[in-house]
Amino acid sequence: MKDRSLATVLCSTQVGSMVLVRVRVSGWRPARPGQFAMLQAEGSSCFLPRAFSVHSQGEATPDGAEVSFLIAPIGAATHDLATLSPGDRVWTLGPLGRGFGAVDDMRRSGGRAGSGRLLLVGGGVGVAPFLLVLESLLQRAIARPEDAPTQVSVLFGFRDAAQAESLALFVPAVDALCAAGVPAGLEAICEDGSLGRPGLVTELLTESVRVGDTVLACGAHAMCEAVWRVCRQAGDDVDVWFSLEAGMACGIGSCLGCVMTMADGSMARVCREGPVFAGRDVFGESRHPCAAPGPHGGGS
């Protein structure tokens, strides 16, 4: 019988206040951008695994694939994952959930849906899924340039300089996208002014977003609410998608613990119906979002 897979840690790199963990996972099926995996350090004192966006992945080989995750150590479970050494092992189950389907929708419409511009908005460790998004866009730009977005803007917000060090992880991918002929830019802002004027990522978004854009966002619930407000103010034709976070026990649809109350009052599981949701489903038409926030201060 199949089992959860024990992945082997290849390297673990401190990136400011976050840690980039690269593992080799046997039998890994390539993740779509925005999908996640449940991870638990072998021997962790914590009971349950935690959900992490797939940050990046290498090509699948008979030995498995190299997959990386960006981890912010905030509690015991994430601390256990952030302090792994090469050779250590991690229980891994993934890829899971629905990713950023909007990326594929743009491809199907030949990158000409709306403005053809793609804005990637990340806050804190919520930047994690966007490297896989950029890698996927690069592959497409090389294989089928006519299907690539007309422009890609990466907009990141961080709390402080230590968090902002993760910005460096994205520079090569943005450069590669430019080299492949897709105009791409990377802008970041820090709440404490470490990167110039202090502020929130929504300020960058306000300056950039235009009618017809596609916006993919991942970050704290408050950031997502603010992103929705900014996009709604920009016009009804901004296509907004959120990758949401919620405490989940299983990640595979069993526990029903990760549900969010959607704008229409229905419940949706972040693990199965998400983690990526259309902005309208989460926040409704109103400019005053009402969806319940996911767990924030209690989990780890």
Binding site: Q35, E42, A77, P95, L96, S254
Partner: protein, 350 residues
């Protein structure tokens, strides 16, 4: 062990290969290949298989063709649809987790139309778990299930035309112990008279295996267990979760949307074991032991305290293959002790 697991995964093996030997047992009229099942509400076979399809198609196919449980216990079904409790619904706590899911389900009508057919198509016995807010609710749901089952091919309480009756593959578990709904349910299971009344009323309409799942949130479980057995329960499931509370570490307000929740996981194992031990000494019906089961030692402990069958709950969240793994390990553990399953059951009392 871990080496072995990895080797199995690396080999791309899609099925269990073989069932554990020497563990065959029975729960009333239902034959089980081994004594490990799942606890209701902790494992959705179809959802897990659908999730696995994106991870490993062979594993997903194998999951339904060869489920990792000796019998499958789906989530609680109630007379009417329920959306469940407001989020957040779960939080990890020391050695376990607190949950307040609130029995979301589509109601009995939807269950009979959509769930029952695919449950009956599984290559395992099923134990349907029902909940309600009054005696009548339980009777209504049990009666609806019986009507539906009698109408299936080979249905009816008698074996006819060579068909195996559903009695040998479908059981019923009364959830009179959910701590997360605010009326009925746990208030029924906290009272011996109410428990007896519900069990005997359901007994009237349900000819098959009948289990009552009891709550540990009582001063003394023994009179309740006796009442259920005397009223006609064929067995008892011990125990549901322990009512608990956790605060948001920043706001210092209750974390769960429903304020309180049920505690499960390894933290509750010694507590659950005590209930199984005490009830086993007092009541002469088979017990399904559960509460923090995570290792083969936990399985042995529950068996030794008097459980005939052991259910995996929260631990299955992190590892949906856990019941099967434990069955394989139990076979080896019994072999190492040169004991049979029957010899281990109740050992702690002898």
């Amino acid at each position: 062990m871990n080496e072995e697991r990895e080797a199995r995964v690396g080999g791309g093996e899609g099925t269990s290969g073989r069932a554990p030997r020497g563990l065959a047992t029975r729960l009333g009229p239902i034959a089980l290949a081994h004594p490990i099942i799942n606890a209701s509400g902790t494992f959705d076979l179809f959802e897990v298989a659908a999730s696995l399809a994106g991870v490993d198609e062979a594993a997903a196919t194998a999951f339904l063709a060869d489920p990792p449980v000796a019998a499958y216990v789906p989530k609680t079904v109630t007379p009417l649809p329920r959306t469940g409790n407001p989020p957040p619904r779960i939080l990890e706590t020391a050695g376990g987790m607190l949950n307040s899911i609130g029995l979301p389900n589509g109601g009995i009508e939807t269950f009979v139309a959509r769930e029952l057919p695919r449950l009956l198509s599984l290559p395992r016995p099923i134990i349907l778990n029902i909940g309600g807010f009054s005696r009548q609710d339980y009777v209504e749901v049990a009666a609806a299930l019986r009507v539906a089952l009698d109408g299936t091919r080979g249905g009816g309480p008698d074996e006819t035309a060579g068909e195996v009756s559903w009695l040998s593959r479908v059981g019923l578990e009364l959830n009179i112990s959910c701590p997360n709904v605010h009326s009925g349910c746990i208030s029924i299971g906290s009272d011996p008279d109410e428990t007896a009344a519900v069990v005997s009323a359901v007994r009237e309409v349900w000819p098959g295996l009948l289990l009552a799942k009891l709550t540990p949130n009582v001063t003394d479980i023994v009179p309740i267990a006796r009442a259920a057995a005397d009223a006609g329960a064929d067995g008892l499931s011990l125990v549901n979760t322990f009512k608990g509370l956790a605060l948001d570490r920043l706001s210092l307000k209750p974390f769960l949307g429903a304020v309180t929740g049920g505690l499960s996981g390894p933290a509750i194992k010694p507590l659950a074991l005590r209930f199984v031990y005490e009830v086993s000494a007092a009541v002469d019906v088979p017990l399904v032991g559960m509460g923090g089961v995570d290792s083969v030692q936990d399985v042995l402990d529950f068996l030794a305290c008097g459980a005939s069958v052991v259910a995996v709950g929260a631990s299955g969240f992190r590892d949906p293959w856990k019941p099967h793994t434990l069955a394989v390990e139990l076979e080896a553990a019994l072999e190492a002790r040169s004991m049979t399953l029957a010899e281990v059951i109740g050992m702690a009392h002898r």
